[in-house]
Symmetry: C2
Subunit: 244 residues, 2 copies
DNA sequence: GCCAAAATACTTGTATGCAAGGGGTTGGAC
DNA sequence: GTCCAACCCCTTGCATACAAGTATTTTGGC
Protein backbone atom coordinates (compact mmCIF):
# COMPACT_ATOMS: atom_id res chain seq x y z
CA UNK A 1 0.00 0.00 0.00
CA UNK A 2 1.42 3.31 -1.02
CA UNK A 3 0.93 6.17 1.38
CA UNK A 4 -1.07 9.23 0.51
CA UNK A 5 0.89 12.18 -0.73
CA UNK A 6 0.96 15.28 1.41
CA UNK A 7 0.43 17.40 -1.65
CA UNK A 8 -3.00 16.01 -2.39
CA UNK A 9 -4.20 16.62 1.13
CA UNK A 10 -2.86 20.14 1.11
CA UNK A 11 -5.78 20.97 -1.12
CA UNK A 12 -8.10 19.59 1.49
CA UNK A 13 -6.82 21.75 4.32
CA UNK A 14 -6.94 24.82 2.11
CA UNK A 15 -10.62 24.24 1.51
CA UNK A 16 -11.05 23.72 5.23
CA UNK A 17 -9.58 27.13 5.90
CA UNK A 18 -12.00 28.74 3.49
CA UNK A 19 -14.90 27.06 5.22
CA UNK A 20 -13.67 28.25 8.57
CA UNK A 21 -14.09 31.81 7.43
CA UNK A 22 -17.71 31.21 6.53
CA UNK A 23 -18.83 29.64 9.78
CA UNK A 24 -17.85 32.67 11.80
CA UNK A 25 -21.20 34.04 10.66
CA UNK A 26 -23.57 32.84 13.35
CA UNK A 27 -23.83 29.17 14.11
CA UNK A 28 -21.11 27.06 15.61
CA UNK A 29 -20.68 24.27 13.09
CA UNK A 30 -19.55 20.97 14.39
CA UNK A 31 -16.03 19.97 13.47
CA UNK A 32 -17.12 16.46 12.56
CA UNK A 33 -19.64 17.82 10.05
CA UNK A 34 -17.07 20.06 8.45
CA UNK A 35 -14.51 17.27 8.22
CA UNK A 36 -17.11 14.92 6.79
CA UNK A 37 -18.12 17.36 4.06
CA UNK A 38 -14.48 17.99 3.26
CA UNK A 39 -13.57 14.33 2.95
CA UNK A 40 -16.75 13.44 1.09
CA UNK A 41 -16.24 16.03 -1.61
CA UNK A 42 -12.55 15.17 -1.77
CA UNK A 43 -13.46 11.55 -2.48
CA UNK A 44 -16.26 12.35 -4.94
CA UNK A 45 -14.02 14.75 -6.81
CA UNK A 46 -11.20 12.19 -6.87
CA UNK A 47 -8.79 14.42 -4.99
CA UNK A 48 -8.61 11.32 -2.82
CA UNK A 49 -8.43 8.53 -5.36
CA UNK A 50 -9.91 5.05 -4.78
CA UNK A 51 -7.46 2.90 -2.86
CA UNK A 52 -5.75 5.79 -1.06
CA UNK A 53 -4.55 4.92 2.42
CA UNK A 54 -5.94 7.22 5.09
CA UNK A 55 -4.24 7.34 8.46
CA UNK A 56 -6.40 8.73 11.24
CA UNK A 57 -3.50 10.35 13.02
CA UNK A 58 -2.07 11.75 9.81
CA UNK A 59 -5.42 13.15 8.70
CA UNK A 60 -6.14 14.64 12.11
CA UNK A 61 -2.82 16.47 12.07
CA UNK A 62 -3.25 17.76 8.51
CA UNK A 63 -6.79 18.94 9.16
CA UNK A 64 -5.92 20.41 12.54
CA UNK A 65 -8.48 18.47 14.53
CA UNK A 66 -8.34 15.63 17.00
CA UNK A 67 -9.07 12.04 16.16
CA UNK A 68 -12.51 12.06 17.78
CA UNK A 69 -14.46 14.20 15.27
CA UNK A 70 -12.35 12.79 12.45
CA UNK A 71 -13.37 9.28 13.39
CA UNK A 72 -17.01 10.31 13.47
CA UNK A 73 -16.65 11.67 9.95
CA UNK A 74 -14.93 8.49 8.77
CA UNK A 75 -17.66 6.41 10.38
CA UNK A 76 -20.26 8.19 8.28
CA UNK A 77 -18.17 7.72 5.16
CA UNK A 78 -18.03 4.00 5.91
CA UNK A 79 -21.83 3.95 6.01
CA UNK A 80 -21.81 5.69 2.63
CA UNK A 81 -19.48 2.95 1.35
CA UNK A 82 -16.92 5.57 0.42
CA UNK A 83 -14.33 4.39 2.95
CA UNK A 84 -13.26 0.97 4.18
CA UNK A 85 -11.97 0.54 7.73
CA UNK A 86 -10.37 -2.61 9.06
CA UNK A 87 -9.61 -2.67 12.76
CA UNK A 88 -5.93 -2.56 13.65
CA UNK A 89 -5.05 -2.65 9.96
CA UNK A 90 -5.96 0.55 8.20
CA UNK A 91 -8.38 2.86 6.46
CA UNK A 92 -8.64 3.27 2.70
CA UNK A 93 -10.78 5.11 0.21
CA UNK A 94 -13.06 2.43 -1.21
CA UNK A 95 -12.50 1.26 -4.74
CA UNK A 96 -15.32 1.48 -7.28
CA UNK A 97 -17.44 -1.65 -7.06
CA UNK A 98 -19.22 -2.52 -10.29
CA UNK A 99 -21.98 -4.32 -8.44
CA UNK A 100 -22.66 -1.16 -6.48
CA UNK A 101 -22.59 0.86 -9.68
CA UNK A 102 -25.27 -1.37 -11.14
CA UNK A 103 -27.38 -1.08 -8.02
CA UNK A 104 -27.00 2.68 -8.01
CA UNK A 105 -28.25 2.83 -11.60
CA UNK A 106 -31.20 0.66 -10.67
CA UNK A 107 -32.06 2.80 -7.64
CA UNK A 108 -31.68 6.00 -9.58
CA UNK A 109 -33.76 4.74 -12.46
CA UNK A 110 -36.54 3.47 -10.20
CA UNK A 111 -36.77 6.63 -8.11
CA UNK A 112 -36.37 9.12 -10.94
CA UNK A 113 -38.93 7.47 -13.19
CA UNK A 114 -41.35 7.40 -10.26
CA UNK A 115 -40.60 11.06 -9.57
CA UNK A 116 -41.12 11.94 -13.23
CA UNK A 117 -44.44 10.12 -13.14
CA UNK A 118 -45.49 12.13 -10.10
CA UNK A 119 -44.31 15.43 -11.49
CA UNK A 120 -46.05 14.66 -14.76
CA UNK A 121 -49.32 13.96 -12.98
CA UNK A 122 -49.32 17.35 -11.24
CA UNK A 123 -51.92 19.89 -12.35
CA UNK A 124 -49.47 22.75 -12.52
CA UNK A 125 -46.14 21.76 -14.03
CA UNK A 126 -43.87 24.73 -13.45
CA UNK A 127 -40.70 24.00 -15.39
CA UNK A 128 -39.35 27.52 -14.92
CA UNK A 129 -36.62 26.49 -12.53
CA UNK A 130 -35.73 23.55 -14.73
CA UNK A 131 -35.27 25.88 -17.70
CA UNK A 132 -33.07 28.12 -15.56
CA UNK A 133 -30.93 25.20 -14.49
CA UNK A 134 -30.62 24.11 -18.12
CA UNK A 135 -29.34 27.57 -18.98
CA UNK A 136 -26.71 27.31 -16.27
CA UNK A 137 -25.68 23.92 -17.59
CA UNK A 138 -25.45 25.34 -21.09
CA UNK A 139 -23.04 27.97 -19.79
CA UNK A 140 -21.02 25.39 -17.89
CA UNK A 141 -20.66 23.36 -21.06
CA UNK A 142 -19.63 26.41 -23.04
CA UNK A 143 -17.02 27.25 -20.42
CA UNK A 144 -15.94 23.59 -20.23
CA UNK A 145 -16.38 23.82 -16.46
CA UNK A 146 -16.77 20.28 -15.16
CA UNK A 147 -17.62 21.23 -11.59
CA UNK A 148 -20.33 23.64 -12.66
CA UNK A 149 -21.68 21.05 -15.06
CA UNK A 150 -22.00 18.43 -12.34
CA UNK A 151 -23.50 20.93 -9.91
CA UNK A 152 -26.19 21.92 -12.40
CA UNK A 153 -26.81 18.27 -13.09
CA UNK A 154 -27.50 17.70 -9.41
CA UNK A 155 -29.72 20.76 -9.26
CA UNK A 156 -31.70 19.51 -12.23
CA UNK A 157 -32.44 16.11 -10.80
CA UNK A 158 -33.14 17.57 -7.38
CA UNK A 159 -35.70 19.92 -8.88
CA UNK A 160 -37.53 17.00 -10.46
CA UNK A 161 -37.94 15.43 -7.04
CA UNK A 162 -39.14 18.75 -5.67
CA UNK A 163 -41.77 18.96 -8.40
CA UNK A 164 -42.79 15.40 -7.55
CA UNK A 165 -43.50 16.50 -3.99
CA UNK A 166 -40.70 14.47 -2.38
CA UNK A 167 -37.74 16.86 -2.19
CA UNK A 168 -35.79 14.91 0.45
CA UNK A 169 -35.80 11.72 -1.57
CA UNK A 170 -33.01 13.25 -3.61
CA UNK A 171 -30.70 12.82 -0.61
CA UNK A 172 -31.25 9.09 -0.87
CA UNK A 173 -30.41 9.10 -4.57
CA UNK A 174 -27.37 11.25 -3.95
CA UNK A 175 -26.12 8.82 -1.34
CA UNK A 176 -26.31 5.81 -3.61
CA UNK A 177 -24.96 7.90 -6.46
CA UNK A 178 -21.52 8.45 -4.92
CA UNK A 179 -20.01 5.61 -6.88
CA UNK A 180 -21.47 6.98 -10.10
CA UNK A 181 -20.03 10.42 -9.44
CA UNK A 182 -16.54 9.05 -9.32
CA UNK A 183 -17.12 7.20 -12.57
CA UNK A 184 -18.47 10.28 -14.27
CA UNK A 185 -15.53 12.36 -13.16
CA UNK A 186 -13.21 9.78 -14.63
CA UNK A 187 -14.67 10.24 -18.06
CA UNK A 188 -15.25 13.95 -17.63
CA UNK A 189 -13.50 14.88 -20.89
CA UNK A 190 -16.08 12.87 -22.83
CA UNK A 191 -18.89 14.55 -20.93
CA UNK A 192 -17.67 18.01 -21.77
CA UNK A 193 -16.86 17.05 -25.35
CA UNK A 194 -20.43 16.45 -26.44
CA UNK A 195 -23.81 18.03 -25.97
CA UNK A 196 -25.43 14.62 -25.62
CA UNK A 197 -26.23 14.80 -21.90
CA UNK A 198 -27.49 18.36 -22.10
CA UNK A 199 -29.68 17.51 -25.10
CA UNK A 200 -31.23 14.66 -23.15
CA UNK A 201 -31.91 16.94 -20.23
CA UNK A 202 -33.61 19.44 -22.49
CA UNK A 203 -35.72 16.71 -24.03
CA UNK A 204 -36.72 15.39 -20.59
CA UNK A 205 -37.84 18.85 -19.52
CA UNK A 206 -39.76 19.25 -22.78
CA UNK A 207 -41.55 15.96 -22.24
CA UNK A 208 -42.35 16.88 -18.66
CA UNK A 209 -43.79 20.23 -19.65
CA UNK A 210 -45.86 18.58 -22.37
CA UNK A 211 -47.07 15.91 -19.99
CA UNK A 212 -45.76 13.10 -22.19
CA UNK A 213 -45.62 10.45 -19.52
CA UNK A 214 -44.47 7.27 -21.24
CA UNK A 215 -41.81 8.76 -23.55
CA UNK A 216 -40.49 10.72 -20.59
CA UNK A 217 -40.19 7.66 -18.39
CA UNK A 218 -38.37 5.77 -21.12
CA UNK A 219 -35.92 8.60 -21.56
CA UNK A 220 -35.33 9.05 -17.84
CA UNK A 221 -34.65 5.35 -17.50
CA UNK A 222 -32.18 5.13 -20.34
CA UNK A 223 -30.57 8.32 -19.06
CA UNK A 224 -29.98 6.72 -15.66
CA UNK A 225 -28.35 3.63 -17.13
CA UNK A 226 -26.26 5.49 -19.69
CA UNK A 227 -23.30 5.77 -17.36
CA UNK A 228 -22.81 2.01 -17.56
CA UNK A 229 -21.64 2.40 -21.14
CA UNK A 230 -18.45 4.15 -20.12
CA UNK A 231 -17.41 1.52 -17.58
CA UNK A 232 -15.23 -0.63 -19.87
CA UNK A 233 -13.24 2.28 -21.17
CA UNK A 234 -12.74 3.95 -17.79
CA UNK A 235 -11.82 0.65 -16.23
CA UNK A 236 -9.24 0.02 -18.93
CA UNK A 237 -7.67 3.41 -18.26
CA UNK A 238 -7.67 3.17 -14.47
CA UNK A 239 -7.87 -0.49 -13.41
CA UNK A 240 -6.38 0.30 -10.00
CA UNK A 241 -9.49 2.32 -9.09
CA UNK A 242 -11.79 -0.69 -9.36
CA UNK A 243 -12.46 -3.52 -6.93
CA UNK A 244 -11.92 -7.22 -7.59
CA UNK B 1 -39.50 15.97 29.27
CA UNK B 2 -39.88 12.83 31.28
CA UNK B 3 -36.80 10.75 31.80
CA UNK B 4 -36.50 7.24 30.46
CA UNK B 5 -37.43 4.52 32.90
CA UNK B 6 -34.73 2.15 34.03
CA UNK B 7 -37.10 -0.75 33.57
CA UNK B 8 -37.41 -0.26 29.84
CA UNK B 9 -33.68 -0.18 29.36
CA UNK B 10 -33.18 -3.26 31.48
CA UNK B 11 -34.53 -5.20 28.55
CA UNK B 12 -31.87 -3.65 26.37
CA UNK B 13 -28.96 -4.75 28.52
CA UNK B 14 -30.39 -8.25 28.80
CA UNK B 15 -30.36 -8.57 25.02
CA UNK B 16 -26.84 -7.19 25.06
CA UNK B 17 -25.77 -9.97 27.39
CA UNK B 18 -27.21 -12.57 25.05
CA UNK B 19 -25.31 -11.07 22.14
CA UNK B 20 -22.12 -11.14 24.15
CA UNK B 21 -22.40 -14.88 24.41
CA UNK B 22 -22.64 -15.21 20.65
CA UNK B 23 -19.63 -13.12 19.74
CA UNK B 24 -17.29 -15.30 21.75
CA UNK B 25 -17.34 -17.53 18.67
CA UNK B 26 -14.54 -16.06 16.59
CA UNK B 27 -14.63 -12.43 15.69
CA UNK B 28 -14.26 -9.55 18.08
CA UNK B 29 -17.37 -7.48 17.42
CA UNK B 30 -17.05 -3.77 17.88
CA UNK B 31 -18.86 -2.36 20.87
CA UNK B 32 -20.24 0.50 18.82
CA UNK B 33 -21.83 -1.93 16.36
CA UNK B 34 -23.43 -3.93 19.12
CA UNK B 35 -24.78 -0.83 20.83
CA UNK B 36 -26.08 0.51 17.53
CA UNK B 37 -27.97 -2.70 16.76
CA UNK B 38 -29.39 -2.76 20.27
CA UNK B 39 -30.62 0.82 20.18
CA UNK B 40 -31.93 0.54 16.62
CA UNK B 41 -34.07 -2.49 17.38
CA UNK B 42 -35.19 -0.94 20.66
CA UNK B 43 -36.42 2.11 18.76
CA UNK B 44 -38.01 0.17 15.91
CA UNK B 45 -39.76 -2.12 18.35
CA UNK B 46 -40.95 0.86 20.39
CA UNK B 47 -39.19 -0.26 23.55
CA UNK B 48 -37.80 3.23 23.29
CA UNK B 49 -40.84 5.29 22.35
CA UNK B 50 -40.71 8.43 20.17
CA UNK B 51 -39.84 11.45 22.27
CA UNK B 52 -37.87 9.53 24.90
CA UNK B 53 -34.99 11.46 26.36
CA UNK B 54 -31.65 9.68 26.03
CA UNK B 55 -28.75 10.76 28.18
CA UNK B 56 -25.36 9.71 26.89
CA UNK B 57 -23.91 9.21 30.36
CA UNK B 58 -27.00 7.38 31.60
CA UNK B 59 -27.07 5.09 28.57
CA UNK B 60 -23.36 4.38 28.78
CA UNK B 61 -23.70 3.32 32.42
CA UNK B 62 -26.73 1.13 31.79
CA UNK B 63 -25.14 -0.57 28.77
CA UNK B 64 -21.80 -0.92 30.51
CA UNK B 65 -19.77 0.90 27.87
CA UNK B 66 -18.01 4.21 27.66
CA UNK B 67 -19.43 7.25 25.94
CA UNK B 68 -17.15 6.92 22.90
CA UNK B 69 -18.70 3.86 21.20
CA UNK B 70 -22.12 4.93 22.44
CA UNK B 71 -21.73 8.28 20.72
CA UNK B 72 -20.68 6.57 17.50
CA UNK B 73 -23.85 4.47 17.64
CA UNK B 74 -26.00 7.53 18.32
CA UNK B 75 -24.34 9.34 15.42
CA UNK B 76 -25.43 6.59 13.06
CA UNK B 77 -28.95 6.68 14.46
CA UNK B 78 -29.03 10.40 13.76
CA UNK B 79 -28.17 9.70 10.12
CA UNK B 80 -31.03 7.21 10.08
CA UNK B 81 -33.30 9.95 11.41
CA UNK B 82 -34.18 7.77 14.40
CA UNK B 83 -32.56 10.07 16.96
CA UNK B 84 -32.31 13.83 17.31
CA UNK B 85 -29.28 15.38 18.97
CA UNK B 86 -29.01 19.05 19.92
CA UNK B 87 -25.64 20.20 21.18
CA UNK B 88 -25.59 21.17 24.86
CA UNK B 89 -29.30 20.44 25.12
CA UNK B 90 -30.08 16.76 24.81
CA UNK B 91 -30.76 13.64 22.80
CA UNK B 92 -34.21 12.25 22.08
CA UNK B 93 -35.75 9.44 20.11
CA UNK B 94 -37.18 11.14 17.04
CA UNK B 95 -40.93 11.48 16.73
CA UNK B 96 -42.72 10.05 13.70
CA UNK B 97 -42.74 12.62 10.90
CA UNK B 98 -45.65 12.25 8.50
CA UNK B 99 -43.71 13.86 5.68
CA UNK B 100 -41.02 11.23 6.11
CA UNK B 101 -43.65 8.52 6.20
CA UNK B 102 -44.99 9.69 2.87
CA UNK B 103 -41.53 9.77 1.37
CA UNK B 104 -40.78 6.30 2.69
CA UNK B 105 -43.91 4.99 1.01
CA UNK B 106 -42.89 6.65 -2.22
CA UNK B 107 -39.38 5.22 -2.05
CA UNK B 108 -40.62 1.78 -1.15
CA UNK B 109 -43.22 1.79 -3.89
CA UNK B 110 -40.78 2.97 -6.53
CA UNK B 111 -38.07 0.47 -5.65
CA UNK B 112 -40.31 -2.51 -5.06
CA UNK B 113 -42.29 -2.07 -8.25
CA UNK B 114 -39.02 -1.78 -10.15
CA UNK B 115 -37.71 -4.88 -8.40
CA UNK B 116 -40.92 -6.76 -9.22
CA UNK B 117 -40.54 -5.74 -12.84
CA UNK B 118 -36.99 -7.07 -12.89
CA UNK B 119 -37.86 -10.29 -11.11
CA UNK B 120 -40.78 -10.79 -13.46
CA UNK B 121 -38.55 -10.35 -16.51
CA UNK B 122 -36.16 -13.08 -15.39
CA UNK B 123 -36.11 -16.30 -17.34
CA UNK B 124 -36.16 -18.52 -14.31
CA UNK B 125 -38.52 -17.29 -11.61
CA UNK B 126 -37.78 -19.48 -8.60
CA UNK B 127 -40.43 -18.61 -6.05
CA UNK B 128 -39.52 -21.51 -3.78
CA UNK B 129 -38.01 -19.33 -1.09
CA UNK B 130 -40.92 -16.95 -1.31
CA UNK B 131 -43.35 -19.81 -0.71
CA UNK B 132 -41.29 -20.92 2.28
CA UNK B 133 -41.34 -17.41 3.74
CA UNK B 134 -45.10 -17.27 3.20
CA UNK B 135 -45.45 -20.48 5.21
CA UNK B 136 -43.45 -18.96 8.04
CA UNK B 137 -45.64 -15.89 7.95
CA UNK B 138 -48.73 -18.09 8.03
CA UNK B 139 -47.41 -19.71 11.19
CA UNK B 140 -46.58 -16.36 12.76
CA UNK B 141 -50.10 -15.19 12.10
CA UNK B 142 -51.57 -18.35 13.60
CA UNK B 143 -49.41 -17.92 16.68
CA UNK B 144 -50.24 -14.21 16.81
CA UNK B 145 -46.49 -13.53 16.98
CA UNK B 146 -45.93 -9.94 15.88
CA UNK B 147 -42.14 -10.10 15.87
CA UNK B 148 -42.10 -13.24 13.72
CA UNK B 149 -44.66 -11.69 11.41
CA UNK B 150 -42.56 -8.59 10.86
CA UNK B 151 -39.40 -10.65 10.41
CA UNK B 152 -41.01 -12.78 7.73
CA UNK B 153 -42.33 -9.63 6.09
CA UNK B 154 -38.80 -8.32 5.83
CA UNK B 155 -37.55 -11.65 4.53
CA UNK B 156 -40.24 -11.63 1.88
CA UNK B 157 -39.45 -8.21 0.50
CA UNK B 158 -35.74 -8.86 0.72
CA UNK B 159 -36.16 -12.00 -1.34
CA UNK B 160 -37.90 -10.06 -4.08
CA UNK B 161 -34.88 -7.79 -4.38
CA UNK B 162 -32.62 -10.83 -4.45
CA UNK B 163 -34.64 -12.29 -7.32
CA UNK B 164 -34.41 -8.93 -9.09
CA UNK B 165 -30.62 -9.19 -8.98
CA UNK B 166 -30.11 -6.28 -6.59
CA UNK B 167 -30.00 -7.85 -3.12
CA UNK B 168 -28.32 -4.94 -1.35
CA UNK B 169 -30.93 -2.44 -2.47
CA UNK B 170 -33.11 -3.80 0.29
CA UNK B 171 -30.81 -2.14 2.83
CA UNK B 172 -31.74 1.18 1.30
CA UNK B 173 -35.44 0.41 1.58
CA UNK B 174 -35.00 -0.82 5.12
CA UNK B 175 -33.27 2.40 6.08
CA UNK B 176 -36.03 4.63 4.81
CA UNK B 177 -38.60 2.21 6.21
CA UNK B 178 -37.72 2.79 9.87
CA UNK B 179 -40.51 5.28 10.30
CA UNK B 180 -42.99 2.87 8.76
CA UNK B 181 -41.94 0.09 11.10
CA UNK B 182 -42.85 2.14 14.14
CA UNK B 183 -46.21 2.95 12.61
CA UNK B 184 -46.92 -0.67 11.84
CA UNK B 185 -46.02 -1.75 15.34
CA UNK B 186 -48.43 0.82 16.71
CA UNK B 187 -51.33 -0.80 14.90
CA UNK B 188 -49.99 -4.32 15.36
CA UNK B 189 -53.28 -5.65 16.80
CA UNK B 190 -55.00 -4.78 13.53
CA UNK B 191 -52.26 -6.48 11.54
CA UNK B 192 -52.56 -9.71 13.48
CA UNK B 193 -56.35 -9.57 13.48
CA UNK B 194 -56.80 -10.01 9.76
CA UNK B 195 -55.29 -12.10 7.00
CA UNK B 196 -55.35 -9.15 4.63
CA UNK B 197 -51.62 -8.53 4.48
CA UNK B 198 -50.78 -12.20 4.16
CA UNK B 199 -53.36 -12.64 1.40
CA UNK B 200 -51.82 -9.77 -0.52
CA UNK B 201 -48.39 -11.31 -0.16
CA UNK B 202 -49.66 -14.60 -1.49
CA UNK B 203 -51.27 -12.88 -4.43
CA UNK B 204 -48.08 -10.97 -5.21
CA UNK B 205 -46.08 -14.19 -5.23
CA UNK B 206 -48.71 -15.81 -7.44
CA UNK B 207 -48.54 -12.96 -9.91
CA UNK B 208 -44.75 -13.07 -9.91
CA UNK B 209 -44.70 -16.80 -10.58
CA UNK B 210 -47.22 -16.40 -13.38
CA UNK B 211 -45.28 -13.50 -14.87
CA UNK B 212 -48.27 -11.17 -14.66
CA UNK B 213 -46.32 -7.93 -14.81
CA UNK B 214 -48.87 -5.13 -14.77
CA UNK B 215 -51.30 -6.56 -12.19
CA UNK B 216 -48.34 -7.37 -9.97
CA UNK B 217 -46.96 -3.86 -10.17
CA UNK B 218 -50.33 -2.38 -9.32
CA UNK B 219 -50.65 -4.64 -6.32
CA UNK B 220 -47.11 -3.97 -5.08
CA UNK B 221 -47.73 -0.26 -5.35
CA UNK B 222 -51.00 -0.26 -3.46
CA UNK B 223 -49.41 -2.60 -0.92
CA UNK B 224 -46.62 -0.10 -0.26
CA UNK B 225 -49.03 2.78 0.29
CA UNK B 226 -51.51 0.81 2.37
CA UNK B 227 -49.82 1.77 5.64
CA UNK B 228 -50.91 5.39 5.10
CA UNK B 229 -54.48 4.35 5.80
CA UNK B 230 -53.79 3.62 9.43
CA UNK B 231 -52.13 6.96 10.14
CA UNK B 232 -55.23 8.88 11.32
CA UNK B 233 -56.28 6.23 13.79
CA UNK B 234 -52.80 5.60 15.20
CA UNK B 235 -52.18 9.31 15.47
CA UNK B 236 -55.41 9.77 17.37
CA UNK B 237 -54.39 7.09 19.82
CA UNK B 238 -50.82 8.27 20.34
CA UNK B 239 -50.53 11.94 19.37
CA UNK B 240 -47.42 12.34 21.52
CA UNK B 241 -45.48 10.02 19.21
CA UNK B 242 -45.88 12.31 16.20
CA UNK B 243 -44.00 15.46 15.21
CA UNK B 244 -45.52 18.89 14.69
C1' DG C 1 23.31 -15.37 1.66
C1' DC C 2 18.99 -16.87 3.54
C1' DC C 3 15.49 -17.93 6.75
C1' DA C 4 13.14 -17.49 10.94
C1' DA C 5 11.83 -15.33 15.03
C1' DA C 6 11.46 -11.52 17.98
C1' DA C 7 10.97 -6.73 18.58
C1' DT C 8 9.35 -2.46 17.01
C1' DA C 9 6.40 0.81 14.85
C1' DC C 10 1.95 1.90 13.36
C1' DT C 11 -2.96 0.84 12.94
C1' DT C 12 -7.83 1.36 14.86
C1' DG C 13 -10.96 0.81 19.14
C1' DT C 14 -12.02 2.37 23.72
C1' DA C 15 -11.99 5.01 28.08
C1' DT C 16 -11.63 9.23 30.42
C1' DG C 17 -11.06 14.15 31.35
C1' DC C 18 -12.00 18.85 30.02
C1' DA C 19 -14.53 22.69 27.72
C1' DA C 20 -18.56 25.33 26.18
C1' DG C 21 -23.25 26.30 26.58
C1' DG C 22 -28.33 25.84 27.59
C1' DG C 23 -32.09 25.26 31.04
C1' DG C 24 -34.06 24.98 35.44
C1' DT C 25 -34.06 26.52 40.11
C1' DT C 26 -33.50 29.42 43.80
C1' DG C 27 -32.90 33.56 45.91
C1' DG C 28 -33.69 38.46 46.19
C1' DA C 29 -35.70 42.88 45.00
C1' DC C 30 -39.76 45.52 44.12
C1' DG D 1 -47.34 38.13 44.72
C1' DT D 2 -44.45 38.72 40.77
C1' DC D 3 -40.62 39.32 38.05
C1' DC D 4 -35.75 39.26 37.25
C1' DA D 5 -31.15 37.79 37.78
C1' DA D 6 -27.51 34.94 39.23
C1' DC D 7 -26.08 30.40 40.05
C1' DC D 8 -25.74 25.50 39.56
C1' DC D 9 -26.46 21.22 37.27
C1' DC D 10 -26.64 18.70 33.24
C1' DT D 11 -26.11 18.35 28.41
C1' DT D 12 -23.19 17.29 24.19
C1' DG D 13 -18.58 18.24 21.60
C1' DC D 14 -13.73 17.74 21.64
C1' DA D 15 -9.03 16.32 23.00
C1' DT D 16 -5.99 13.03 24.87
C1' DA D 17 -4.20 8.75 26.92
C1' DC D 18 -4.34 3.84 26.90
C1' DA D 19 -5.30 -0.90 25.05
C1' DA D 20 -5.26 -4.58 21.62
C1' DG D 21 -3.62 -6.23 17.43
C1' DT D 22 -1.26 -6.41 12.84
C1' DA D 23 2.43 -5.72 9.52
C1' DT D 24 6.99 -4.61 8.83
C1' DT D 25 11.63 -4.57 9.93
C1' DT D 26 15.57 -5.97 11.98
C1' DT D 27 18.52 -9.07 14.06
C1' DG D 28 20.36 -13.40 15.25
C1' DG D 29 21.34 -18.04 13.82
C1' DC D 30 22.66 -21.25 10.40
Amino acid sequence: METTTGHRLTGVSESVASLRRVDRAKVRERISDRVHDELESAIRELRLVPGSVLSETELSVQLGVSRTPLREALSRLVDQRLVDVVAQVGTTVSRIDLAQVGEACFVRSALETAAFRRACAAEHRDVGRLRAVLAVQEEALAAQDGDAFFDSDEALHREVFRLAGYPDVWDLVRGSKSQLDRLRRLHLPDVLASREILEEHIRIVDLLEAGQLLPGIDLVESHAYKILGVVPRVRAEHPEYFAS
